[in-house]
């Protein structure tokens, strides 16, 4: 247990996910270098997808003291991958030679699966994980089980086997047509 809050609540990010680097500051080449370096950092549980694809990198900006600050959000507060991702981010930034940096844990606004980029959704699908629906309301989350299409045969004759799958962010489904199990990235 060593989650470090290096900052409080940051200024709210724009609500929809950026499809490329948000808060892009052309004046500082370290920012560009950092974004490029982080594009290669994968989620340990979903190796197909980078932390940028997942919308976990909330901002990269120089602080007043010159330190580069990287805002990183957890997907789920208890996700064990969070620590690994943080370390991978730090290693990538060090490797890219961006100088002094600090990785800030950003809780607010809370990460949403809506922030997975179009590229991220495409990669998830290719990997065999059905990307999340966009913007489910609370009522929908609580009551409605919309059909989730099978990533292999495209049938919508599928069922949810478990709300909780192999990682906190995924649910386990099964296709009744091709009988294959598959994972669904939960909408949160």
């Amino acid at each position: 247990m060593s989650a470090v809050f290096t900052g409080g609540v940051p200024t709210p990010a724009p609500a929809p996910a950026p499809t490329s680097a948000p808060n892009f500051t052309p004046a500082d080449p370290r920012v560009t270098t950092a974004w490029q370096a982080l594009a290669a950092v994968e989620d340990p549980e979903i190796p197909a997808v980078s932390v940028i694809d997942l919308g976990l990198i909330r901002f990269i900006k120089p602080r007043h003291d010159g330190t580069l600050e990287v805002g990183l959000s957890p997907t789920y507060v208890g996700c064990p991958a969070t620590e690994v991702i943080r370390r991978s981010v730090e290693i990538a930034l060090r490797g890219a030679g961006v100088g002094e940096f600090v990785v800030t844990n950003v809780l607010s606004p809370a990460w949403s699966s809506d922030w997975i980029t179009a590229e991220g959704r495409r990669k998830l699908e290719i990997y065999g994980i059905v990307p999340p629906e966009q913007s489910a309301s609370l009522r929908e989350l609580m009551r409605v089980n919309r059909p989730v299409g099978c990533p292999r045969c495209r049938s919508t004759d599928t069922e949810c086997i478990s709300e909780f799958g192999s990682t906190p962010c995924k649910a386990l489904h099964r296709c009744r047509a091709c009988l294959e199990p598959f994972e669904y990235f939960k909408c949160i």
């Binding site: 809050f5 409080g8 507060v77 809780l107 809370a110 478990s162 909780f164 386990l172 949160i188």
Partner: protein, 258 residues
């Protein structure tokens, strides 16, 4: 760091944050006991996932409590080195798992409480609590969807499953009173806009529970007075066993890391 707690009495805020964090931590530890013992693999995963979320919530809250306290204690110190009487969770969280049905009933009761509490706490004047609530409430929705889904299946299932979850509802219901029993600390936090009014949380919780119980064909037990004060550190005998297991390593090998 958020300076919001400068306006609020820090020792009071510390205790209030512990109430929330300890509830999550103790419930997470309880749920973890199911790992490897659940009725099916999917339920093993489900309960373990919820346990992880609870421990994640606890980490955020206990870290914050340590900062508010200002004595240099971190989340681990607070989780592993406090005694029985210093834990401030409502005693419902520490009640034994019982059978799967009893675990599900306890979960529905607490999930619905956390959902209604955190939803309102997103508007807290304490920015840090507002942020933690906003993050946690999204996960709690999934927890309640899971637990209430099971309660409906069990309640509206066989005679045996109905009988067993009704017995669990009857046994655990009295412990819910403590969740909503407003004392001077709850009142002070609500007065300062840090926390919602427990009466508002209760009204929403009642409504939600009535819906779930009706769908599950279960009866809501009559209101009874309670004598539990876990929120003030007076616990049932169960908490000591939980802490003994959870704290063993840190107590035996102080400062151990890996």
């Amino acid at each position: 760091m958020s300076a919001s707690f400068a306006r609020v009495d820090a020792p009071a805020l510390f205790r209030y944050v512990l109430r929330l964090g300890d509830l999550a931590l103790v419930l997470g530890q309880r749920l973890g006991e199911w790992v490897g013992h659940s009725p099916a693999l999917e339920e093993d995963l489900g309960l373990a996932n919820i346990a992880l979320d609870m421990i994640g919530q606890a980490r955020l809250l206990l870290t914050y409590a340590g900062e508010v306290e200002g004595q240099g204690r971190g989340e681990d110190d607070i989780a592993f080195l406090r005694g029985h009487g210093e834990y401030l969770n409502a005693v419902l969280a520490e009640q034994p798992n019982g059978d799967f049905g009893q675990t599900i009933v306890r979960q529905v009761l607490i999930d619905a409480f956390q959902l209604e509490l955190y939803q309102r706490m997103t508007a807290s004047t304490d920015e840090r609590l507002a942020a933690i609530a906003a993050k946690s409430v999204k996960e709690v929705r999934y927890h309640l969807r899971y637990s209430s889904g099971w309660l409906v299946r069990l309640g509206d299932g066989t005679d045996e499953s109905h009988r067993r979850v009704q017995a669990a509802v009857d046994a655990l219901w009295p412990y819910t009173v403590e969740l909503f029993a407003e004392d001077e600390l709850d009142r002070a936090m609500a007065d300062q806009g840090v926390a919602p009014r427990l009466a508002d949380v209760k009204a929403a919780w009642d409504h939600r529970l009535d819906e779930i119980l009706a769908e599950a064909t279960l009866k809501r037990p009559p209101h009874r007075p309670h004598a539990w004060h876990g929120k003030r550190g007076q616990h049932s005998e169960h908490l000591g066993y939980i802490l003994a297991e959870m704290q063993y390593l840190q107590r035996t090998h102080p400062g151990a890391r890996w």
